[in-house]
């Protein structure tokens, strides 16, 4: 079904893009105010639990995707049910990523342009790259992430003149329960890496999946933390009033009254990350659907699922702030079954049933 192979470093890079794809704009844990970076760090630690669970599962069934594992462990019917929930979750993530970028564009640069045009033009590239397969996605991502990191460093340097370290203190201004919840929020974002359960079989060294994912998580966390520090340092208290704090930070860039209003460049750059997130989601959803329904190739379902994805994107939320609340309050619970509970019980049952049998593990 998929002939391509990717290396473990490519997987790490994909994980980075997948994680920072949308979170760059809606910085996670921003309810923690100045402590955002701390919640990201704590969330990273917490996210190691689901990551270890599902990578253990993946290693146990090397060469099998989550859908196939579910089928093996749970039998045809229950397994397919689990797989369906998983696929829905990934589908939803992809559509949310579309929706967030449309929201950004509709409020900042392309106000009059119909949503549909933005969605279709974005979808075109996603379909194109998804049909080309995981190898092309991974390679495209290599370029994009390089540019992203360079631009992030540049973005840091450009705001140094308006950076105020005083804004970073006091670190913890909110009650500890709020802080823990914010940690849970960022942890559930890191847990989204479960999407790669579908991609592990195409690693050229299958045993390296844990390391690759954790590397990706750490780098993504560092990037997110640095951008959180930058945002709070530049914006201060007002950062919590903005929907897109990172975007507002770039709006403030002013070097010698010549380099000003550079916000469009970082926005486009974040968009490329969102493009990778949507593409990986679309690819995984298509591949998963094909495996679920025993198709010979996933390519025919890419376009229909892509269309459904952008329809879901328009129907994701009534307004962006309600999505923010969703990410803050509901997503941590919503993600729990997919990220932890299902993989965990699957793993336990596999251990009990002594699956996979000898010789099957190839």
């Amino acid at each position: 079904m998929e002939e391509g192979r990717i290396s473990s470093s490519q997987l790490s890079l994909l994980a980075i893009s997948y994680l920072i794809g949308t979170t760059f704009l809606l910085s996670p844990g921003s309810q923690a105010k100045q402590g955002t970076w701390l919640t990201i760090l704590l969330g990273l630690g917490e996210a190691l639990i689901p990551v270890l669970i599902f990578t253990t599962l993946a290693k146990r069934f090397a060469g099998k995707s989550l859908i196939e594992i579910n089928d093996l462990v749970w039998g045809k019917i229950v397994g397919k049910l689990f797989s369906l929930v998983f696929l829905w979750y990934i589908f939803h993530l992809g559509s949310a990523s579309f929706a967030i970028f449309v929201a950004l564009f509709k409020t900042t640069v392309l106000i009059a342009t119909p949503e549909v045009i933005l969605l279709i033009s974005g979808l075109l590239s996603c379909i194109y790259v998804s049909k080309k397969g995981i190898e092309v996605i991974a390679r495209t991502n290599e370029v994009l992430i390089l540019i992203t990191v360079l631009l992030l460093i540049l973005g840091f340097l450009l705001v140094l003149n308006i950076f105020n370290a005083n804004n970073l203190f006091p670190v913890i201004e909110i009650p500890i329960t709020r802080l823990l919840w914010a940690t849970q929020e960022s942890s559930s974002l890191f847990g989204q890496t479960i999407v790669f359960m579908m991609i592990f079989p195409y690693l050229n060294r299958r045993k390296s999946c844990t390391g690759a994912i954790i590397k990706g998580l750490v780098v993504a966390a560092i990037l997110l933390m640095s951008s959180a520090v930058r945002t709070t340092g530049v914006l201060g208290k007002i950062s919590e009033s903005y929907i897109f704090p990172n975007y507002e930070t770039d709006r403030l860039i002013d070097i010698g009254n010549t380099l000003t209003r550079l916000e469009i460049l970082p926005v486009l750059n974040f968009l490329t990350m969102g493009f990778i997130k949507s593409s990986v989601s679309l690819y995984v959803t298509s591949l998963g659907t094909a495996q679920l329904l025993n198709l010979r190739t996933y390519r025919p379902v890419v376009i229909p699922l892509g269309i459904l994805m952008i329809i879901a994107a328009t129907q994701n939320y009534p307004d962006i702030s309600s999505h923010l609340r969703f990410v803050e309050n509901i997503h941590p619970i919503y993600a729990l079954p997919v990220q932890i509970i299902f993989p965990l019980i699957t793993l336990l049952l596999a251990i009990i049933r002594r699956l996979p049998c000898q010789g099957e593990n190839q």
Binding site: V109, L118, S121, G122, V129, V136, V143, I264
Partner: protein, 535 residues
């Protein structure tokens, strides 16, 4: 799908039948009959010359030499065929042993290449290729004698790929001259040429060249396979082949490279590539081709590496300017005016005051005008080309701005783009396509449109392969070792491995650590190559 459609529309008969290979007629033993056969094949063309003479060996034999005027070297025919057969043969009393025709071949003809054949097709092909055919009455075999010789262009510097410090020689139209030039560059017995004839009517000589021991055998096999697959009437130029053998026939990016320079060809062969020579054209195809090859100029290796690196950056910059500048200009002036510094914005707005068209249309129209000028300049005779540029500069540059039809900034942008697009000649065509597409997208969606366009291009590029090698390598997939000739051009003594991205068996190019040092340090140092077979 095409088969499906063809079946559906009953167009199956349009599919070309594979050519039947008839055995060909055998020669008779009678000279006149044989000549009649040739006349039948070649017709009564005035350039087909049949020189009858009497071969005075033991007894008088009617003979004839048949050749095509213009393709042969008269001197060779006289000195090496007619003189020995008509004059020398009489001088001695020969004792002919064995077959007559073999005897002639062995004892009389003083020419390098002689082939014996008894079938018409081979002989006719030989005549058409410039050989002479010797027919002797009573023999049902004939000799095809190599007498090729025609007007040749002398070796000159190629117009399209000029260098400042490099050699001043370029390939010519003659495949033998070309392969000889290559041999002179690479005196290695590993340099192999494999010849084949492609083109049912043109019978063009095509040579695959590679250096055995450096090249990947699978690559050669693949090139051979793709070339053998070709079944066409004519091969007149290198591009006739490359369109048949390229990996991505619809991609506007060139996946087979061209060069007119023997030094470039030699360098590419020694990196493990395969070159394809086509008779009749000074252009040589090399494969596999990487995207970065367009940015590597032979002069890069003739200058100091720091300067070469800087020039290479300029080339990258110019390439991106050539593609992106008009699009950025459109996006900035119609969508993202906030990015322009205020004083500049005000003076730009002043310059565009009263211009009747939207900027996108202005940019596209001016771009089209420029392309027309360029095309006219290329096709016209050189003196008139001068006129074109003056007219272009005056009319387009000055008059339209003065008349208020086009804003001055637009003209500046188009002019800069035009110059920038000439810096990387091999990617020029793709540059034009991309530029136009991106300008349109920028006109619709601003910077977002540019991004979508660039993303699509990037995806396309990453999915491209040239003979199995990813087109963007060694950047994607990243190969740290091969970065020595991408963004920077490292010193030649530091390039101690051949580029790995193409994947040949022996990567070691030279001994490690040969950077020039003082004599004391040099003493006792071993510069032999590390184990060559390891890779």
């Amino acid at each position: 799908m095409i088969r499906f459609l063809l079946r559906k529309f009953g167009l199956a008969h349009l599919r070309k039948e594979s050519p039947s290979t008839p055995e060909g007629k055998l020669l008779h033993s009678d000279l006149e009959e044989n000549l009649a056969l040739f006349r039948e094949e070649l017709g009564n063309s005035p350039d087909v010359i049949i020189r009858r003479f009497t071969l005075n060996l033991r007894n008088e034999l009617k003979s004839a030499v048949l050749f095509i005027d213009g393709l042969i070297d008269q001197q060779v025919i006289y000195d090496s065929i007619l003189y020995p057969l008509m004059i020398e043969a009489k001088k001695e009393k020969w004792a002919v042993k064995g077959h007559l025709i073999d005897f002639i071949e062995d004892n009389l003809l003083t020419v390098g290449g002689v082939d014996k054949d008894d079938r018409m097709p081979g002989l006719v092909a030989a005549v058409l290729a410039g050989d002479s055919v010797l027919l002797v009455d009573g023999c049902d075999q004939a000799l095809a004698i190599s007498t090729k010789g025609w007007e040749k262009r002398s070796i000159t510097e190629p117009d399209t790929e000029q260098t400042i410090k490099g050699p001043r020689e370029g390939f010519t139209e003659n495949i033998r001259t070309n392969t000889a030039m290559l041999r002179r560059k690479i005196a290695d017995p590993g340099l192999k040429f494999e010849q084949m004839k492609i083109g049912e009517r043109t019978r063009t000589k095509v040579s695959i060249a590679y250096v055995k021991g450096i090249v990947n055998e699978k690559l050669v096999e693949e090139v051979r396979r793709r070339l053998k697959r070709i079944n066409t009437d004519m091969v007149l130029d290198a591009n006739y082949l490359s369109e048949f053998i390229s990996d991505a026939p619809f991609s506007p990016f060139p996946t087979v490279a061209f060069t007119e320079r023997p030094d470039v060809t030699a360098a590419k062969l020694l990196e493990g590539r395969v070159a394809i020579f086509v008779d009749g054209t000074p252009v040589v195809n090399t494969a596999p081709t990487l995207f970065i090859e367009s940015f590597q100029n032979p002069d890069d290796y003739n200058f100091h590496f720091l300067f070469a690196t800087m020039i290479r950056w300029i080339r990258y910059l110019a390439f991106f300017l050539g593609i992106l500048l008009p699009a950025f200009f459109v996006a900035l002036t119609t969508y993202h005016q906030e990015l322009i510094p205020t004083p500049l914005l005000i003076s730009m707005a002043a310059a565009m005051e009263g211009v009747p068209f939207p900027i996108v249309i202005e940019v596209v129209a001016m771009g089209a005008v420029f392309e027309i000028l360029r095309e006219a300049g290329v096709r016209l005779a050189r003196p008139i080309g001068q006129t074109i540029s003056i007219v272009g500069a005056l009319v387009i540059g000055q008059a339209t701005v003065a008349a208020g039809l086009v804003a001055a900034p637009t003209v500046i942008v188009i002019a800069l783009t035009a110059i920038a697009s000439f810096v990387v000649p091999t990617q020029q065509e793709i540059g034009i396509i991309l530029r136009l597409g991106l300008t349109f997208l920028a006109g619709i969606l601003g910077a977002y449109g540019i991004l979508v366009g660039l993303l699509l291009t990037l995806i396309h590029l990453t999915s491209l392969r040239s003979f199995g090698v990813p087109y963007l390598s060694p950047v994607i997939p990243l190969s740290i070792e091969d970065q020595k000739d991408v963004i920077v051009r490292t010193p030649l003594w530091a390039m101690w491995t051949r580029p790995r991205s193409i994947g040949w068996p022996r990567p070691i190019r030279q001994g490690f650590g040969q950077s020039p040092t003082s004599p004391e340090e040099t003493a006792g140092k071993d510069w032999s190559r590390p184990d060559d077979k390891k890779g």
